[in-house]
Symmetry: C2
Subunit: 272 residues, 2 copies
């Protein structure tokens, strides 16, 4: 059995969006080995049903546990919203972190006017996970949510600064501008990539929260508590598993992590 601290951290998402979380983890924990799983063959999850998302997440987590991970990070808001509890039950003693818990904690003490906005996929919005969790932490906050269904396809098409995106984003965000929120939570791991467009529409007075940062800080604290920080002196290993080989994966991964990455390995999750 490998010692706890030498075991890798498991991070997973429906696709490549979760790499924004990997980037934050690498900044906070530069000596950890990381296993990343992206279910690219079956993405996106955000427009799918709770039953489908739970089934897919369950298969991925079974795979990650077989890789002997010492912690699991749900680097996808949609999965965090609908499957966190099932995943924690399956994982047993292995700690499970998720972007919504961390993002809610980060946003609950930021607002000065008690008006918080959340933008996310339809599945995340429908779950009410953010309003419930934020209000558990601070019941003075009024949380408004908007499902921004087209943001993920725009970002995956590479249209991250585009007049059509600006029209769509202005429509989606208008109710939050009207509500005069002063804090906006990016409730989807893709959204940091369109930050300039979001900032332009929301204006300077709105603080934008990226839950990836809070998640990686929480991971650091949990590994410290469990005496599970990796003290290796050689460079960490990053291993990527996917359900489909995509040309974009390495391009985007290398952009995010600022280093050359090995090709991902193909995994068949059927029958898991």
């Amino acid at each position: 059995m490998i010692e706890l601290n030498k075991r890798p951290v498991g991070v997973f998402d429906s696709g490549i969006g979760g790499l924004t979380v990997v980037k934050s983890i690498v900044e906070q924990l530069p000596f950890e080995d990381i296993i990343y799983f992206g279910d690219i063959a079956r993405l996106p999850y955000g427009t799918k049903s709770v039953a489908t998302i739970r089934k897919f997440a369950y298969q991925t987590v079974k795979f990650l546990l077989e890789q002997n991970v010492k912690a699991i990070v749900i680097a996808c808001n949609t999965i965090s919203a609908v499957a966190k509890q099932d995943i924690q039950e399956l994982a047993g003693d292995v700690p499970v972190l998720d972007v919504i818990s961390a993002g809610s904690a980060a946003s609950s003490n930021t607002s000065k006017n008690n008006k918080v906005g959340v933008i996310a996929t339809p599945a995340t919005v429908n779950s009410l996970a953010y309003p419930k969790m934020i209000n558990n932490l601070n019941n003075q906050l009024y949380v408004s949510q908007i499902a921004c269904t087209l943001f993920v396809p725009f970002i995956e098409e590479g249209y991250i600064l585009h007049p059509a995106l600006e029209i769509i984003a202005s429509e989606y965000l208008q109710p939050l501008v009207t509500a005069k929120i002063d804090t906006l939570v990016l409730g989807c791991t893709h959204y940091p990539l369109i930050l300039p467009t979001l900032e332009k529409i929301m204006g300077d007075d709105v603080t934008i929260i990226d839950p990836a940062i809070a998640t990686s800080v929480e991971l650091l604290n949990i590994l410290k508590q469990n005496k599970a920080i990796n003290d290796q002196l050689h460079p960490p290993k990053y291993k990527f598993y996917v359900t489909e080989l995509s040309k974009n994966f390495n391009k985007i991964g290398e952009l995010f992590l600022n280093k050359k990455l090995d090709l991902p390995e193909l995994v068949n999750l059927d029958c898991y």
Copy 2:
């Protein structure tokens, strides 16, 4: 064993787009029982790899063959483009029809200036299925293709008449306008739903071809040849199978078919 003519026709797609083909089939063959399969849990296919699409299509066709279908209609251009041959091999004696073969035949004798445009998903465009098949039928034609990645998400969001769609569509179609094509093939079963926007951009001199119509005429001919036309006197049965229960399915299905539909039945394709 059920008599050949009493057996249902199997129609399948990655999601709900194939219902435009079902609509054409119902118009041509009003007494046929139809089994429709939509792999909603794993859609969209059009941005995925050839290996993934083939695997998914194979699982669906195995399921349809178990339902004793007398013909299989691939109501999805992406699947037609990359998996037609595999599907015909798996289906054996059961005839397999696809929207690309039928659409190519319909478009090969329409153009007067020999300039044809095809709009489709990235997977369909990359396969070169349309240009190859159209040029096999008429090697005088010059075929230009454009991948219109964002059309499917816009249509599934219900943004079928929207200023942002018009900006995106104008950009996508600009090379076809410049090339002065006189025939445009809708190489994705979703695209008939944005016909007004496409017509506005392309102008009155361009003939727009919807392969669904040609496909249903071909089905009629094949069933006639095989003496497999259903002569039942009672109303036909339409049975829908999906890999995820979606609220949209019945709403859109009833809009297309102009009748109340039974709820679809959930099928697990894993391990198929």
